[in-house]
């Protein structure tokens, strides 16, 4: 699942560009470089979102099992008259482009078709399942960032020493573990054998979910002051979070270690040391500050692989999120649901990376001030 950072175009090296001059005049907000940067990134993300719908559209039509037999059933499909009528009604006779815009129109109205398994509109199932995955994903990404970047920093600073070797080995094992097997192993060990954690599901069977505000049990229970439910929700979060964190931290450590190593070799870090600053100031004030750009990209990638991970692990913990929904859909070949999950997860991922680009725009003065 390893991705390198998003592609930057190598502009022709303007070897003879005239030296930049200090800029003093205040420019109106929309002409400011950062707004232009975010505008461009926004446009790219919108185009990507559109592209995602094209991909799912093509895939739905690629289905070897023709939608006709699926909808009408084997027997009716043999009668040409019914087939012709169905084809006309469903607009399958129109050119692909038109079919696509019809498909897009339905999407925009939130119509993702009906799930073969649950018989509900896919959008409703997704709406139901989304908060569970969101809660798990946020919990995992927060822990993983702290652990991953921390260990990555330690490994980079103490390059080739024992702690670096150990961290690298553990993180390599972390990304080599099949997450679907790890989920079962952790569940078996900590629940089945050791009884340290509660069973599957987001709450114990007896507990009632807190009044729905965000749909995330931990947040909602805090908002309504139900601390026992909050504790119950947190303990249930433990095992799935542990499963996904191991993989995500492994990935974050490997990428952030390389990114920080590059910064450690920069002249401005040596200059900071030459100023006699305390090691922590050099580390956090200069090294971490200098590696923010690659680290933001890495967090985006880690979030992507985390979403992948949920598909393979939620089933074991009966988590009731997008992951489990996707698992059931794929094992039952429920195509509308599979496409629905693909679209939603793709969209979440694009929007997250857009937000990361925006944050980067404000973090790097060369972009903010230009």
């Amino acid at each position: 699942m390893s991705h390198s950072s998003s592609s930057q175009h190598a502009e022709p090296a303007v070897a003879d560009a005239l030296p930049g001059s200090a800029r003093s005049t205040r420019t109106s907000w929309f002409a400011r470089p950062v707004v232009r940067y975010i505008g461009i990134r926004g446009l790219v993300s919108a185009v990507l979102l559109l592209g995602v719908t094209i991909v799912t559209f093509i895939l739905t039509n690629l289905v070897p099992v023709s939608p006709i037999t699926a909808a009408l059933g084997e027997q009716a499909a043999s009668d040409p008259a019914t087939v012709a009528k169905f084809v006309h009604d469903a607009g399958l006779d129109k050119p692909a482009i038109v079919q696509y815009f019809v498909y897009l129109g339905k999407l925009l109205h939130g119509d993702l078709g009906t799930s073969i398994q649950t018989r509900n509109p896919v959008t409703q199932d997704l709406g139901q399942a989304f908060p569970a995955t969101a809660e798990l994903a946020l919990c995992v990404i927060l822990i993983s960032i702290i652990l991953g970047l921390g260990l990555g920093l330690i490994a980079a600073v103490r390059k080739d020493r024992f702690s670096d070797q150990l961290i690298r080995m553990v993180s390599l094992i972390g990304i080599s573990v099949p997450t679907f097997w790890l989920a079962a192993a952790i569940y078996f060990l900590f629940f089945f054998v050791l009884r340290w954690a509660p069973g599957s599901g987001r709450l114990s069977p007896a507990a009632t979910p807190p009044p729905r505000v965000t749909g995330m049990y931990t947040v909602d229970s805090l908002l309504s002051g139900q601390f026992t439910t909050f504790l119950d929700a947190v303990t249930h979060l433990a095992l799935p979070t542990l499963t996904l964190t191991l993989f995500t931290v492994g990935m974050l450590v490997r990428f952030s270690r390389t990114a920080i190593l590059d910064v450690l070799n920069q002249d401005y870090v040596r200059a900071a040391r030459a100023k006699g600053l305390a090691t922590n100031r050099v580390l956090f004030g200069y090294v971490v500050r200098g590696s923010i750009a690659p680290i933001l990209t890495i967090v985006g990638l880690a979030f992507g692989s985390l979403l992948s991970g949920t598909v393979l692990t939620e089933q074991v913990f009966a988590w009731g999120g997008l992951g489990q929904y996707a698992y059931r859909a794929s094992t039952a070949l429920d195509l509308p649901s599979v496409m629905g999950v693909g679209l939603l997860v793709g969209a979440i991922y694009i929007i997250t990376n857009f937000i990361i680009d925006v944050v980067y725009g404000f973090v790097d003065p060369r972009v903010r001030i230009g």
């Binding site: 030296p19 930049g20 001059s21 200090a22 800029r23 003093s24 920069q266 002249d267 401005y268 040596r270 200059a271 900071a272 040391r273 030459a274 100023k275 006699g276 600053l277 305390a278 090691t279 100031r281 004030g285 200069y286 500050r289 200098g290 923010i292 973090v363 790097d364 003065p365 060369r366 001030i369």
Partner: protein, 304 residues
Amino acid sequence: MTGLVISDLRLRIGQADILNGVSLGILGGEITGLAGESGSGKTMTGLVLCGLQPAGAVVTGRVEFTDSDRSIPNLLALQPREFNRLRGRRIAMVAQDPVASLHPMLTIGTQLTDHVRHHLRLSKQQATARAVELLERVQVPTPETALRRYPHQFSGGQLQRIAIAIAIACEPAVLIADEPTTALDVTVQAGILRLLRELRDDLGLAIILISHDLGVMSAIADTIAVMRYGTVIEQGSRQQVIQQPQTEYARELIAALPQVPPPGITTDAGGQPHPDAQPHPDAQPHPGVQPHPGNHPHSTRTGA
């Protein structure tokens, strides 16, 4: 007298011997030139004096550091924490490429004051006031606004001046300048050299000027040490080393450079043309280059 005394400095990385017994005296109020080509060990010597040699390098020998109020027998024996207290406070460094040695995401103000507040325990306002004063000292225009700006908003020459301001912020005794003008345009180099000479005179700084360019050495170094294969092969006053080089290698280095300036070009020594420059037949009389406005009357210390 403040300064450094280096005796038999050796450094090895893996199987490679980088420094093979460097011995050199560096006095306050003097610019000591460390000349040599790439691979001669001149940069590594500068790094060792700052305690910034690469991890895993084996260093032997002695570096004695004397300052107005203390004397340390051997810097190399100091614990990292102790050496760190000296770095930036008593011994400062200016690197070759100003653009790379300033953090792209921190304002000039932050990079100019964070080590001052660390070493001198100054408040934010005191440090900022000092920063403005320093920028004026190194002739950076509009210091107040410059403090809020970022490195990418300045030219190479201005950045090097800012880097020098950062280096002298805590009034160090020793300033190590590693190829300070190499990355700059020729027309900007003279300004930096002039600034270094002023700092030597005004602050009594002991400046170690590391450069491969003997022309730069000939311009502002008081004494010159020529290095090759990790040792000092020739050492002496500027006139002596440049005009009567002892070793063949030094002679070869000097022969490769122009000895006589273009006719009609005056230098900052009172504006008269160079004594042995022959004027070109169709050279029109034109006003000689006025000495640099900010230049102090030539100090009597160094007989011109």
